[in-house]
């Protein structure tokens, strides 16, 4: 993973307090879900693909053009660890926040950092506490 991305010492404030209840609820559920196998997951099937989830804890400093392509993350659920650069080329999808359902390609990752490629644009409007999943599958882009 590149070292050129500097992270803000203080996280960006949430741009909308409205998103907080949902995120808090999701995190609480994660925290207390260790025994809560539910629904279809009672059927034990193999994972369709390898995946890691996480929560954004800090955004990198913008480049001279004001674009951000990297963030610091807390792997979820607690105790999960990212293997550096394992997720290179994988698909990142945002699960909350203003960019809900937006997709990016991972350029590289550290134990707690993720860098996305410029192919899908910068991480505009992505904020601290946003949730994401990174899956071992290529990003499919519509032809321009």
């Amino acid at each position: 993973m590149s070292n050129i991305h500097e992270f803000r010492a203080r996280p960006r404030p949430l741009r909308s307090a409205m998103r907080l209840p949902g995120i808090v609820a999701a995190c609480l559920l994660l925290a207390c879900s260790s025994a809560a196998l539910a629904g279809h997951d009672d059927l034990r099937v193999g994972p369709a693909m390898k995946r890691y989830a996480g929560k954004i804890t800090g955004l990198a400093e913008p480049d001279p053009q004001g674009r951000v392509y990297a963030f610091r993350a807390e792997p979820l659920p607690q105790g999960t660890r990212y293997t550096p650069d394992e997720m290179k080329g994988w698909r990142l999808t945002l699960l909350s926040g203003k960019r809900f359902s937006a997709v990016f390609e991972v350029q590289g990752n550290g134990a707690a950092e993720v860098v996305v490629t410029p192919l899908d644009g910068p991480l505009t409007d992505v904020a601290v506490n946003d949730l994401f999943v990174i899956e071992q599958i290529a990003v499919e882009r519509q032809p321009k």
Binding site: A26, H40, A48, L95, S101, V103
Partner: protein, 155 residues
């Protein structure tokens, strides 16, 4: 000719995932997106006010569903075949419902067969021209399965 067919097939797939103008299409597109491992496509069909009831469990927000259960539902959608058996639709205006039953068949990771009927209630809300799913409720006609799942929940 083959190329045109492929391009058209791709276009239809994308159009289905992103523009469900008929409630039942939104439900079908959601299942298709799960089967295609298309996380963003599945999310795009969910209303931001989504609440999911799944075999006695609750995902109170779209974020909690996306984080906890959507991946597992995707795993099952990939591993098992969901055949639509019955469907009823209703509602009017911006609020509609789609009631479906599916026969879900396949094999679990240990080779145990999957063969059950899954009952699905979907409530959809129109936002602009598109319908998105605002509530999903899944259960099964198999009382033993339902009881087993609910016993696993923390009291």
């Amino acid at each position: 000719m083959k190329l045109i067919a492929l391009v058209l097939a791709g276009f239809v797939e994308i159009a289905t995932a992103q523009s469900a103008r008929v409630p039942a299409d939104a439900v079908d597109a959601f299942h298709t997106a799960l089967r295609n491992k298309d996380t963003a496509g599945a999310l795009s069909l969910l209303d931001r006010g989504l609440v999911v009831f799944e075999f006695g469990g609750v995902d109170p927000t779209v974020e909690s569903y996306a984080l906890r259960h959507l991946p597992l539902d995707m795993d099952l959608a990939v591993a098992a075949r969901w055949s639509l058996e019955t469907r009823r639709v209703g509602g009017e205006g911006n609020e509609r419902w789609v009631l479906s039953t599916y026969r879900v068949t396949g094999k679990q990771a240990d080779g145990t067969p999957i063969d059950q009927t899954t009952l699905e209630t979907a409530i959809l809300r129109r936002s602009g021209d598109l319908f998105r799913i605002v509530h999903l409720h899944w259960s099964t006609s198999d009382p033993a399965f339902q009881a087993r799942v609910q016993q696993q929940r923390p009291k």
